[in-house]
């Protein structure tokens, strides 16, 4: 089959590899009909994600048709259309039973690698480093899906792929970021980053009752989408003093919640941010936490800081005194996608939102190397790429 493989920093290729097979009893094989490039795929594309090996099959946002199931899978049959959540979760361990599937105890065969750095391993992920299991991803013609009797969501309503594909990651990720804010009526929510997750965080914050969402992004096309799709007040952070601007917009109170939809690769024109770049290059700091610092500074008293953007390692100079002094609450983590699948599918079916509105680029798997480059360079107004085999 054809699959998109990582060959090194800024080197993706489309390779011919053997088709996957059923290995464990709870497996299924999915024939992929649609797959997307995620912002977090840029972390390995840019060489910032450890644990990749040449030839690894990437991609964790995918859906398709079941073609084969293992003997323990009773809820799916060949021909079913499914969306596959990006964390691989067993459904039987303590975190899974609490609904925290991104913290599954039993899916990462390489848990010891992550334990050395994190203490405990989170769930395995598709196509996202050997640290997180080394499972082959979904930017391919077929994928092996472990624990298929627990993870995949059957799509029975005939909705197009493009309307439901993002249930695999970015829609639940944006939604969880907003849900983690514990939004109360009248709350003002500030969102850093208007990439796909930022867009869904904005939309979700309104769905959950925010009175206003203020969003920041350097790129015109992203701010425009944040206005038209999300209804946010979208601002170029290079043109304002973000902390002062938010203070003015909120009657001096500061936002009730701040969402980081940027993560470890933030850029900003400040001495501290430039120092982050240097330290990251020297590998003495893994992540560039500009957004996190700014959120802590901007947040109102007792506000919630919600992190959806990915962080992988150590960050420096976090203004913890400010966080402590204002009594902030921090919520973060990979998305427990499984628990949002059905409620968000119902919202899509009801017409509360149309996730396909953020797609700007469509192409074939064969065009993946070019699509990665376009997405990474923010060229051609590229907000979201969807690929078909």
């Amino acid at each position: 089959m054809k699959a998109v493989t990582w060959q090194g920093t800024h080197k993706m290729s489309v390779s011919t590899v053997p088709d996957p097979q059923i290995v464990n009893p709870r497996d299924a094989i999915v024939k992929i009909t649609s797959t997307a490039i995620c912002g977090s795929d840029l972390h390995f594309y840019d060489g910032r994600m450890p644990g990749f090996e040449k030839g690894d099959i990437v991609g964790h946002e995918f859906m398709g048709e079941i073609v084969e199931v293992g003997p323990s899978v009773k809820n799916l049959t060949p021909g079913d259309r499914v969306v596959v959540p990006f964390p691989i979760a067993c459904g039987a361990c303590e975190p899974c039973l609490r609904g925290e599937t991104a913290a599954c105890d039993n899916s990462n065969p390489n848990a010891y690698m992550v334990e050395a750095a994190y203490g405990y391993s989170p769930a395995a992920l598709y196509g996202y480093s050997h640290l997180f299991g080394g499972y082959s991803g979904g930017q391919a013609e077929y994928a092996r899906v472990p624990f298929a009797d627990f993870g995949p969501l059957k799509i029975e309503s005939g909705l197009d792929d493009e309307k439901v594909l993002f249930l695999s990651d970015i829609l639940p990720t944006g939604y969880q970021a907003a849900e983690n804010c514990g939004i109360e009526p009248g709350d003002v929510v500030a969102v850093w980053g208007c990439g796909p997750v930022g867009q869904f965080a904005i939309k979700s914050a309104y769905l959950l009752g925010a009175s206003q969402v203020i969003a920041f992004d350097d790129f015109d096309y992203r701010r425009e989408l944040a206005r038209t799709f999300g209804g946010a007040l979208a601002v170029d952070p290079r043109e304002v003093d973000v902390v002062q601007f938010l203070r003015e917009q909120t009657g001096g109170r500061g936002p009730d919640a701040c969402i980081d939809a940027v993560g470890m690769e933030a850029h900003a024109m400040s001495a501290m941010s430039m120092l982050d770049e240097v330290k990251q290059a020297a590998k003495v700091e893994q992540d560039r936490p500009h957004v996190l610092r700014e959120m802590i500074q901007a947040a109102g008293k007792g506000a919630t800081i919600s992190l959806a953007g990915v962080y992988t390692g150590f960050v420096d100079a976090i203004p913890f005194g400010a966080a402590f002094g204002k009594g902030l609450t921090f919520k973060m983590g990979q998305t427990h996608v499984h628990r949002y699948l059905r409620p968000l599918l119902e919202r899509i079916e009801r017409g509360d939102l149309d996730p396909s509105a953020i797609i700007t680029h469509r192409c074939k798997l064969d065009d993946a190397p070019q699509a990665y480059a376009t997405f990474q360079k923010h060229a051609d107004g590229c907000e979201k790429v969807v690929m078909t085999p």
Partner: protein, 184 residues
């Protein structure tokens, strides 16, 4: 010059981490034996877990390096270990404790190629969280020498073997299978 200072700082950081890890590992080696224990919590009943662990047909599925377990009599079993490519080493074990729902312990019988043993202890976790399962392993001998001999035989330390065996045991008993990223 600045770059080299940074490199030195990075190197010093890495060495610090290595020292911490080495120090943590050192606690597994005492003066008379290499010994270790690891614990996980499994959402299954204690007695059921002990039954699975003590089933000779199941143990090789999760216990690192063990390829088969054959009962000899009521208190003895022959465990066969893989000690390298196509190399097998049978070791007779004596069951020294088998208290259902509490503890199972074994040690090498007389004339075994090495001296050591282990135990599985199961206790109820608080608040309906399942069962805390502790696997302890030890190799008798003189400190680091015994640990080195163990590593030569099994290609891993007692700590690695106990943690990875427990991890597989947990996945098998909770999720019904041991995870793998294999594609065929």
């Amino acid at each position: 010059m600045t770059v080299s200072k940074r490199a030195v700082a990075a190197g010093a950081g890495a060495v610090g981490v290595a020292l911490l890890l080495a120090r943590r590992g050192a606690r597994d080696v005492t003066s008379d034996r290499a010994r270790t224990s690891r614990t996980v919590t499994i959402r299954r009943d204690a007695a059921e877990l002990q039954r699975t662990f003590t089933d000779p047909a199941r143990l090789p599925e999760f216990f690192r390096g063990v390829t088969s377990v054959e009962p000899i009599d009521a208190t003895h079993q022959r465990w066969t270990f893989a000690t390298g490519k196509n190399k097998r080493m049978p070791v007779d074990m004596e069951i020294v404790d088998d208290t259902p729902g509490k503890r199972f312990a074994w040690r090498t019988a007389k004339h075994a190629p090495f001296a050591g043993g282990g135990s599985l202890t199961v206790t109820a976790a608080p608040g309906d969280r399942g069962t805390q399962v502790r696997l302890a392993l030890h190799v008798d001998g003189t400190g680091a020498k015994a640990a080195a001999a163990f590593h030569r035989l099994f290609g891993a330390s007692p700590a690695q073997i106990s943690m990875e065996s427990l991890r597989s045991f947990k996945a098998l008993t909770e999720a019904g299978e041991i995870p793998t990223a294999a594609r065929s």
